[in-house]
Assembly symmetry: D2
Homo-oligomer: 261 residues x 4
């Protein structure tokens, strides 16, 4: 019961609500938002899934809520700039303390992801409905359990290399595109005690989050990213040494505390 993994799916929730042809089309696939669709599609006995949106109080993640989250899924596309810097910073620190973070598709440019990667996270892209083939490159990794060595998404937005990432990501999946591009489409990172998974397959207007292999990967990623421990806020001063110091302090009589304020 209280052992359930506390999952929050965050959605900027903009395009799905628009009163235009695009919004109409998106609602044929995600009638009440990508977040609610994913919550239903990923529902399981061991998960306690909640959804929040950018429009909610404190942009959906007030401190007490964020501090009660095990794994956060992040969908954003056109409203990255509206996310407050302080929220991105709080998320990054929560990840560093142990929370899992799963960044979806266009979230590669979201503030929390870029904050945690430290890189621009740019990529090449093209939206013409071409075929994507996803390869599991990390055989045996928990995130690709239960999916075939490769599988097809009949229509996808192309996300291609070069992908601006730091060097310590583990390549979990790579994607092949009909139009000739390749991409590290599933990347796992460790930052402090927290695990991060970026997964590019996903879109507003292609029903990619209805694909069973994609859902298996996201479900696996949630379990993989679940913290084993949330570390407390750490201390940094260590004024008393643990071994005896024989060297006399040449500045013992000088007040240098101003250096450390």
């Amino acid at each position: 019961m209280d052992k359930k993994i506390k999952v929050i799916i965050w959605n900027e929730f903009v395009h799905e609500r628009e009163n235009n042809a695009l919004g109409d089309y998106i609602r044929t696939i995600y009638p009440d938002g990508i977040h609610r669709h994913l919550a239903r599609a990923l529902a399981a006995e061991d998960l306690q899934i909640t959804t929040v949106t950018l429009q909610d109080e404190a942009q959906g993640l007030p401190p007490e809520r964020l501090d009660d989250t095990d794994v956060l899924l992040w969908w954003g596309h056109c409203a990255h700039d509206q996310v407050e810097d302080t929220l991105a910073e709080r998320i990054a620190l929560r990840v560093f303390r142990g929370m899992g973070l799963i960044v979806l598709h266009s979230g590669h440019l979201s503030k929390p992801f870029r904050r945690l990667m430290g890189t621009p996270c740019r990529l090449r892209w093209r939206e013409v409905g071409e075929k994507e083939r996803v390869w599991g490159c990390a055989t045996g990794h928990p995130i690709v359990q239960g999916v075939p060595e490769s599988f097809v998404l009949p229509h996808s937005e192309m996300y291609g290399e070069p992908f601006d990432l730091p060097g310590d990501g583990q390549v979990i999946t790579m994607s092949w595109y009909e139009g000739g591009n390749v991409f590290r489409s599933g990347m796992a990172f460790q930052r402090g005690s927290g695990r991060i998974f970026y997964f590019s397959p996903g879109h507003e207007t292609y029903p990619i989050y209805h694909d069973p292999n994609v859902l298996t990967i996201l479900g696996n990623a949630i379990r993989w990213a679940t913290p084993t421990v949330i570390v407390p806020e750490r201390l940094t001063p260590s004024p008393v040494s643990v071994e005896p110091i024989h060297t006399a302090n040449p500045l013992a009589s000088l007040d240098t505390s101003a250096l450390h304020q």
Copy 2:
């Protein structure tokens, strides 16, 4: 002549100017600022060194100046918060395009370094004038050429583990402290086309930047971090595929451009 490496040493330049006992003491070691001392101590035929400070126009690094810099050295301690976010972002992008960045001592908490690492960059610290011994761990690395396998700093501020860093840094030096601590004191990173070196030895009130081994390491790091190329601003859209796409676009008649704005 025009082949010289263009080095800028940035200093927040606060403590060295203070009218108090601490400022007086610092000026016995660095009479006109750490930046000017380093510029003199690192002067060499192949380097064109300039110094700038937080007090200068555009905080010392207007775009045209930053865009003409090969290697940037960064000293900051008490004024990290005064550095503009946009400057930190411009520095990070310039590093990504190829510029070298050398982060000194308390710069571990500076905005440019934390921005590039994506981690909190915290560490344990203690200032009691204890002995530090620096070990070159990456034998043969250009940064430790000309320094002994280990050397002593008679008085140093302790910077100790745990040090919050991403996983892909190369350990160039590690430090031993009399008081029982250990630290990855010299860490090399690659971010995009740029190289970053963090080096913890250095202080306002200990004459560490007068130590010949420390200066050798900093000089080596400048050459190591010099860009071989500055990559142009990159493009991200790739609307025309490089291979023929046989799949029909199911959304050819739908205007999805709003997704990409």
Copy 3:
């Protein structure tokens, strides 16, 4: 019951059996071998621990036994050369398929570890009974749960940097030595589906494997290294493409099978 983690502790078992003063002394600490001592000290409900030695049939690890092992602990010191290359190769492949491997102290030069690291794995060493202080650098990592931020081993053999390792290890612990050295004493690696932990604290003539913090770390490491899956032997040929190939094979009439034998 059958969910227990199958642990094998391998010992070359040479020094503990010698009929001389050194052997006599070692037996005051490890009366019937380091392997049997560790088996008792690490005994727990969730572990099914077996011990084997170099003197056993097939050097203790016939294929069917190795293929039934979840986590292998390895102690070797003077008899590394006697381990058959084929055994080291089988162990490396089993690790790649998912088995955990915990390499103890002088095992840094063992064939299985060097085979898996691909590096010489040399280090500096000194045996004068000096004090070692072990620091947990990866706060929140499962391997250091339940141990203090640092702890002391009153007498230890110094193992110091530089340590010849590949670049993708995670620093779990670092050690400080009274004599001025530092060392990455606990290093975690992933190779294929398997996890590897190297831990340097340990010795024949100092009672380090009686230290509760050391035992906590080894016990944690066993659970951390337990496979979630053992991947099957992998295939490499892929003669039938998963996407249609329109390019005519210019060598369709040439028998090139000899290239792949």
Copy 4:
């Protein structure tokens, strides 16, 4: 003059000499061996290129020759097993001391490469003459200077993921195959002081080493892998401490030298 980079191209030189239809065909592309073709195609003012083969004395690399090499290129396919383990070990150590190593195509299974990677280095493969498209993923990296963001090899052998590699390689190029596969086709590693580049494009029966982009990449890789320093054979004992040890050695009267033989 004596500043030229000393390059050795090693070839097992088997298929090019065979008296059969396959050999006849290969000789239409590489009349006197892949090694001699590459030596001509890569010839440049700053390179002193020599070729050796498996059939030469000491398999082409007696110690004095290997110890005089800056960068070694390795072609092998069917004769990997004939390479002596001691030669692979000598090469690995020379790399660790600083020599560059460039491993070509089927050399992924060669003894020196597998020895240095520590992994099985397997991959998926198919030889039907399909199209390969190579993407430069590390914009600005010296190895991809002068080549377009992507380029085509009209006919190639497919080498596909999963590719069994350690986690610290830098992805320099990735390949797209007409038949639906993807591959990290250009991977850079650092081992000790030496640099390693694996590049999969290349084949006996497709004229891939006549492709100007491929040759540009190989030429770039040679310069990139050129050592800045060859480190001397390292010492490991460190019997005299660099800091005073106050702890009495409890085993001062016991001869433990047998532990270190």
